[in-house]
Symmetry: C2
Subunit: 533 residues, 2 copies
Amino acid sequence: MRMTKLTGKTLKNIEDEFNIESQKLLLRSAMFRNISPGVYSVLPFGIRAINKLLDLLSDQLEREGFQRVYIPSDIEFEKSVSLSLRNDMKSYKDLPKTIYDIFSSGREKIKIKDGLLRSKDFTTFRTCSFYENEELLLQGYENIIDFYKSKFCEMGLDIFSLKSYNEKNPADKADELIFTCGAGDRTIYSCDKCEFRTLEEVADFYVQQYETDDKEIEAVHTPDIKTIKELENFMNIKAENLAKTLLVKAGGEIVAVVIRGNRELNPYKLSSILNVPIRDINMAEYEEIDGNIETVPGFVGPVELEGVRIIVDKEITSVGALVTGANKKDYHLKNVKYGRDFVGDLIAEVSYIMDNDKCPVCGGSLDKEYGIDLGKILSLGKITDVKNLQYKDKEGKSKGIYGASSYIDIYKLLSIIVEKHHDEDGIIWPIKVAPYHVIISILNTKKEEQVKLGENIYRELKSRNIDVILDDRKERAGAKFYDADLLGIPIRIVVARGASENKVEFKLRWKNEKEELDVNEAIEKVLKLLKIY
Amino acid sequence: MRMTKLTGKTLKNIEDEFNIESQKLLLRSAMFRNISPGVYSVLPFGIRAINKLLDLLSDQLEREGFQRVYIPSDIEFEKSVSLSLRNDMKSYKDLPKTIYDIFSSGREKIKIKDGLLRSKDFTTFRTCSFYENEELLLQGYENIIDFYKSKFCEMGLDIFSLKSYNEKNPADKADELIFTCGAGDRTIYSCDKCEFRTLEEVADFYVQQYETDDKEIEAVHTPDIKTIKELENFMNIKAENLAKTLLVKAGGEIVAVVIRGNRELNPYKLSSILNVPIRDINMAEYEEIDGNIETVPGFVGPVELEGVRIIVDKEITSVGALVTGANKKDYHLKNVKYGRDFVGDLIAEVSYIMDNDKCPVCGGSLDKEYGIDLGKILSLGKITDVKNLQYKDKEGKSKGIYGASSYIDIYKLLSIIVEKHHDEDGIIWPIKVAPYHVIISILNTKKEEQVKLGENIYRELKSRNIDVILDDRKERAGAKFYDADLLGIPIRIVVARGASENKVEFKLRWKNEKEELDVNEAIEKVLKLLKIY
């Protein structure tokens, strides 16, 4: 490519203040143009950068037997793929079946300061895989995580996967691919002693054991006391010694959830435990409670509570003397003890992590970090919502099909690469993902020998299938150096005064040193470098 | 590609009855799968066919200096491109600027029986070009038409361009690319004597001259006569001797349009003439007329009509004695003559063509045909709706920029290619657009020598960069022949009994003859064929 032909002039300054630096570079380097708040078009240099990433992902997946399809947006992705391929998965011989798809779409909620991390339009690289049974599904699921991790590592990124909430199939597993970054909008807790790391939404934490004594349960008259705060004051106790009993509507069922008074219910965890989509998890309305369940709003407690399943947060089982509602107007109970005074239908971890909670693995302290979620892998378990999605096994028996899907946000991927690899002058592309490997700058286009040598090197490198860009513009030398640094092409060859003696200046974008080389030496060095990386 | 690895099994039958045959073949060959009414996903063979078409278009455009960008859908395409590139077009040296874009989107109105010609999702290949002045714009506009025509010709299609309505810029020119096809939904009139062809919406026709006499204008009492039909009976005349005067709201203005009584107003033509978008062309409401214009609804006529511009259909100027409304309740005028009794502010062709109208060029008879609109080219004229879209000319003077855009529907393009190139057994790909050039069928995969020879030819052709597919499935010979015909790969090499003597069967999809060839002869023949086409 010749820079005189490349559409998209670099910019010196960007007015917008972004949460992270890379967003400025994506605009200044003319990969993207902002055309209205949160809306970006992609210019040729950006198209090239994006296609490079897509090719790296696609090529590897194609080698692993994934095939590209195009899935329209009318129906949920996983369901559309299942419908499209169900006739191609009638026998165990047809499985596993693995596809990928590149999809551009628009989101409702944009965040202008996040730039391309949360722009109106985005491009998703998606996969969907089908397996014979759960074991093969889990294996395939891990393979997909490993595939992304290793590809992102090649792209110069440290990405880790964290357990996540599965919005397609709440009871099933999901992982998110996370890049840590101070300006990220996802909260991560990580142990300062062991390897434990968790996303806030699904964070488990260390459940402490408390000393208990065996005082008898006792009713206390608490007239007009309804809030935790009022109760704390009235009984002179701390919220953590209280047990809140929340009546929650989960799908069609009302359940009572018992958590410590100082905690918040975690709807993601409850959704997973009950396998009810999070949109169907809501606090029960007064009218829904009244009549069906024998209790009094404001005084709900787990002791002798009838008519609902009781879900007890694991922490509750280890606290000694609790204060709970008495299911009777103006009364609470004190010295309530799990196991003796009430039991749960289900014991689970259903409350949100708080600062100062400890590592659930080793009890170490947890540090808070922030991260950007680059993508997600979802287990679909056995797919039951698609008619006739069945295969015949070796014995000719009809069986259900298991699935997994994954999503990568390509604009985020590009942003993160630039965020990780830049300095104050511009981008520093890792060689593997560089839109061009070499930039040749003809410093003075009025000098015939410089133009001739520059053109020769350009032709030579092109003939060897090297991605090269030639700065043949009639610009000042300073502007050319400025743009070369901003665009971040890894290898720079400057054709200047030495041209008459076939000498060029050779520089790597990530190093300060330049060296003067003979043209052939320079070309050899390019070939060698590209072989190594 | 190995057929054992290719996702998407061919189908024997498709239940749906489509308007055109190709839609069945696109589904039967597993290029597309129908997942809900009007909604299709694209399977790997389809992805390959589409990418081939996109590559053919892109490669040629790239050679001509067009660069690929991605334009989001939030704002109108042409406006988005202008906003994206206005900083790159500040000098005459930056022009012309030409880009293209590949865009997938969904349409509101689907037509299930049209299959992929009007499916929910579709992919558009779009271009946008910017020029220094109108002359260069017109030249660029013609170049784009020529580019598409020649590419489509290479793809084995006869496509012609017809003048069309320009919905972006009604006063400017537009062309549609049309494929004639009995089941198409666009009506075309074509002259049986000369080369004239026109789309119904914008069709001009031969305006006949009528003999006139010079009778005096005369008022006729026509109590309660309001419709053309009533007037025809009452006055015992034919509708064509009547002049309808329609009060039309065009944007903010009310205009009177005078056309013959037997004609319909053509809103496309009126939109172009007045340069008012068609959505803003409506019959004026009674309340809008009353008061402002001195007339009586039902008795509107052009004679002494004040307060509105009068637009006179060209045909009206050549008819002798007309009957018109008298702008007075219960009165019409007869013997009205254009020029003597009234004049128009504008004379133009504003009525719809009718069957039996003659060719406007030579007066010959017009035949009705049907066609499919594959794409459109639009002149944008001087672009005025984008702030700061200006360049400095050689003298440093600020000037406006001229533009043109074009749209091609890729699913339609693929459909039309298949429609044109198929027989009762399946598709017959023209070599230029064939997803694969060669199919090698190993007839009996249990015979080691057949497998070995098939694999050898496959490797050999792949190493020569030939797009080849290997049918290595454990299917019956009949199924392999059936699929090879259905998929329509141009060159078929069958490895059968002759394998032990290095003989294969060679067949071209579009010919009936087969020949037995030595393997090397067969490979030579493939190379020779691909060089010719």
